[in-house]
Symmetry: C2
Subunit: 213 residues, 2 copies
C-alpha cells in the first residue's frame, strides 16, 4: 500500500486511534464519530477526520465510522496485518524485561503484531539461554539470524559505548527500523528509521516542569 508523503505527526496518531477502536470493539460498540474517537484519544475531531482522510473515505456522513471496518483498514495502513519479527540486542535486565513486555502486549492487544524472536548479547553466560522462551545468540550470529528469520525491526538495549557498533551491525544486516533505548544519538543512513525511547531525556524534561508554575 502506498500513499503520498504522510507526515510523521499523522502516523504517530494512527496507533492511538487503533487502540481506542480495539477497546470499543471489545465492549461491543459498532459505530463511532470523529468527535468521540477524538475525545478518547486526546485529539481534536477535525484532526481525526483529516488524518483518516489521507488514506481513504472510511466514514459515512451523518453516521460516523464503522468500528470493525476502520480497525481493519488501520491495521492495513499501519502494516500490522502479518506478524513482524523483532531482534533485541543487549540481553541485560532492561532488555529481558522488554522481552516480557512485548510478549505480554502481543497477548493483550489484538492489533499489536510484533514478536521478539531473538536476543543477542556478547556475554557467554547468556548465550544459549532463553528468556521468556526467546533464545539468546552471540552477537556474531546476528546477520545470519536476521536473514534466516526475516527479522525487520531491532530493539537496542546495549551500553552506550556499544550502541553505534550494534546499530551498524543491525543496519548492515538489512534492518531499517530501530527502537533505541540507549541514551545516545545514533548515526544511521537516512532510509533507516530510529524511534527514540530515551528515558533519561524524558525524566530531565519532567524536571523542568517541577519548577513553580
Amino acid at each position: 500500500m502506498r500513499w503520498k508523503k504522510i507526515s510523521d505527526a499523522v502516523v504517530r496518531r494512527l496507533p492511538l486511534y487503533l487502540r481506542v477502536l480495539d477497546d470499543l470493539a471489545r465492549d461491543g460498540e459498532k459505530l463511532i464519530s470523529s468527535q468521540s474517537l477524538g475525545e478518547k484519544s486526546g485529539v481534536g475531531p477535525a484532526l481525526v477526520r483529516k488524518d483518516l482522510a489521507w488514506f481513504g473515505e472510511f466514514g459515512k456522513q451523518g453516521v460516523g465510522y464503522d468500528i470493525e471496518y476502520l480497525r481493519i483498514e488501520l491495521r492495513k495502513i499501519l502494516n500490522l496485518e502479518s506478524e513482524i519479527k523483532v531482534a533485541l540486542v543487549g540481553a541485560g535486565s532492561l532488555g529481558v524485561a522488554l522481552t516480557g513486555y512485548v510478549k505480554q502486549r502481543f497477548y493483550e492487544d489484538e492489533s499489536f503484531n510484533l514478536h521478539i524472536v531473538a536476543l543477542f548479547d556478547t556475554d557467554p553466560d547468556k548465550i544459549g539461554k532463553q528468556y521468556y522462551e526467546v533464545p539468546t545468540y552471540s552477537i556474531d550470529r546476528l546477520p545470519e539470524i536476521v536473514k534466516e528469520e526475516n527479522i525487520e525491526v531491532g530493539i537496542l538495549t546495549v551500553p552506550v559505548k556499544a550502541a553505534q557498533d550494534a546499530t551498524e551491525l543491525l543496519v548492515s544486516s538489512g534492518i531499517k527500523s530501530v527502537l533505541n533505548f540507549v541514551p545516545t544519538k545514533l548515526d544511521v543512513p537516512e532510509d533507516v528509521h530510529v524511534a527514540t525511547a530515551d528515558l533519561s531525556l524524558e525524566l530531565q524534561r519532567l524536571a523542568y516542569y517541577l519548577q513553580d508554575e
Copy 2:
C-alpha cells in the same frame, strides 16, 4: 527561575544540548558554536541559538558558547541542580529493570540528577524487599512516603487495569510529573505533566515505515 511560556518543543531539546555539552566537557573542549552544537544534537544552528536565547544571552559574538558556563546555565534552567526524588509504582520486571537503569544513569551522566528512592507494589512477596538497594513498600503507604521523602516524580509500570487508580494515588499525594510506561491514556488534572513512554505505540509506528518506500 521563571520565564515566559516556553514551548514544549524547546524544553525537549535542552536536555539534548546538555548531554552534548557534558560529553564535550569530558573531552576537555572549552568552546562551541551553535553550528557545531546543532550538528551534534541533530538540530539546526539557528534553532539552537533561538532556543538558548529564550533564557538569556549565553554566547559571545565571533566566539561561540563557553561549554562549562552553558552547562551550568542549562542545569539551572532544567532544574537539575539539586537531586530530584522519584517513586516507581509497579515493581514488576520492567519496573525493577528501570530502577537499575536510572541508577546507572545517575552514575554515568553528571547532569542526570534523578534518584529512585522508593518502589511500590501490591504483592506481599515484594514488599519489604530491596531492588538495586531501593526499598519496596506497600502501595498503601505511597502518600505517606511521598510526603516524608519529598518525592516529586512518579514512574508508572503497573498493569493496564491498575494504571488510572495508581495515577490518581500519585496525584492526590502531590505528584505533578509522571513518566508513564503503561499502554493506556491517563486522565490527569491539567497541572500534572505526563511523559509518555508507550513502547507499543512506538513499535506500531515503526511497522508503518517497513512498507516499501
